[in-house]
Amino acid sequence: MAARTKTIRTDYLARVEGEGAMLVRIRDGRVDEVKLRIYEPPRFFEAFLRGRAFTEAPDITARICGICPVAYQVSSMLAMEAACGVELGGQLRALRRLLYCGEWIESHALHVFMLHAPDFLGYPSAVELAADHRELVERALHLKKTGNAVMRVIGGREIHPINVRVGGFYRVPERRELEALVPDLERAREFALETVRFTAGFDFPELEQDYELVSLRDPEVYPIDRGRLVSNRGLDIGAAEYEEHFVEEHVEWSNALHSRVIERGSYLVGPLARFALNADRLSPLAAEAAREAGLEPTERNPFRSIVVRAVELVYAADEALRLIAEYEPPDRPAVEVVPRAGVGHGMSEAPRGVLYHHYRLDEDGTILEAKIVPPTSQNQKTIESDLRGVVERYLDLPDAELALRCEQSIRNYDPCISCATHFLKLEVDRA
């Protein structure tokens, strides 16, 4: 039989944040090569941070992403606070967590309804979905608006919050300002519960992978704003030990660095990992929703991440309501953070997974060195191995359908690829 080479190429991935390209080469009916090429901000922000004051890091790193600025702010603040020997507690930590819940709601609602659901329902994009299922899109917009409102009340702005700083906030809200969010959050929680039921009924492509699942774990609550880093293969470390266990490598086909566990290779961060390692930390309502949806304790089908995201939407709304109910305005909006020479590390759970920051400061708090490891670069190797699995399983599909299935697989990870130019890719044909 003659060698049959088939190449599937997607030059840019619609509905993945940022730009990306994927190449799958099939030879003699076998997957020969899978490459995901993404254009991550190469090391621009790390270089830009050098020479800046430690207090500027939250505002600067928030600009790395238009979808998850709070994640960048929180990881950078945790690192700066660690470098200066400060740890937030009580209501200041609670407010930070509440702000982060707003971002989870906003980001998950966008991804579940606008980017991922069209794949499962057979629509090319949310526009066609909206034409047939207007109520779904209205629901998504309500969820998103609710997340925005939480971010506006605490962060001062919906995107790139300006009210946060190392040590806390510039101004803390009054009780009544937070209480005003309650009706919308209660509605959002109802919508989220419906979303769990709705997504659980999707038809999921078959794929089971044996992942090393990596996420934060908090002693009391589902991990969002801090925690130790754990895995299903026995990892249990603090932020300061991260670089002893993980390494980033250049690969020739991508600007982004690919991360791996030094001892073991690829791993997965994000909703599947958080859920598998922290299901016991969900609120009773979110745990019940997960049970009803039939999620396995350790879910290994990456396509079911959309259901886990919906469960996390329930949790984020529920948790936001709890934090508001228990809120007492703190005496002061921030604790004093006095700079000192040293290093600091910070980790938090961005909606798409663990986000790690590391800074070295001189004695007056000037940043000498910065290192940022976003969740998407941690998932790169795993996305490629999923693609390989998907292509092997669905090799007989026509190219166009196979390419769509590959795109859907990439979207399982909600990758935040180039965060974030959004100019129009416009081509003018004058012929």
Binding site: V137, I159, T421, H422, D429
Partner: protein, 141 residues
Amino acid sequence: MRVIGLGNDWRSDDGVGLEVARRLGGRVLDGEPLELVEALDGEGEVAVVDAVSAGAPPGTVYVFEVGRVPLPARLFGAASTHALGLAEAIELARSLGRLPPRVLVYGIEGASFEFGKGLSPAVEDAAERVAKEVRSCTRST
């Protein structure tokens, strides 16, 4: 006329839409374009300004009226590198019955979309031209 600018100040000329909006006291949207669906909702005519990359000389200005017809298919098809493109956000608003009757989309051809702040000279000039034009539309209506 309400003015909405889209873009990212940290990607060189991608910030031109934001710059025009600032000059006109308009709404600055530097997150993802879905925000546009909410921002469009309201009374009166709207001008949306964004950077484009179409291979034309930097500073070239495109204008589309999308109140009744979609953005050109070619533009719509390859809408954006971001989560949801501008064209998709506009069509989404239309599906939901939230699109104002008259929406002008200004696209300004950028020279560079590399990381960094500040506009190229030709794009800076175009920002001023578009700001002037939108201002004069506002006066005449």
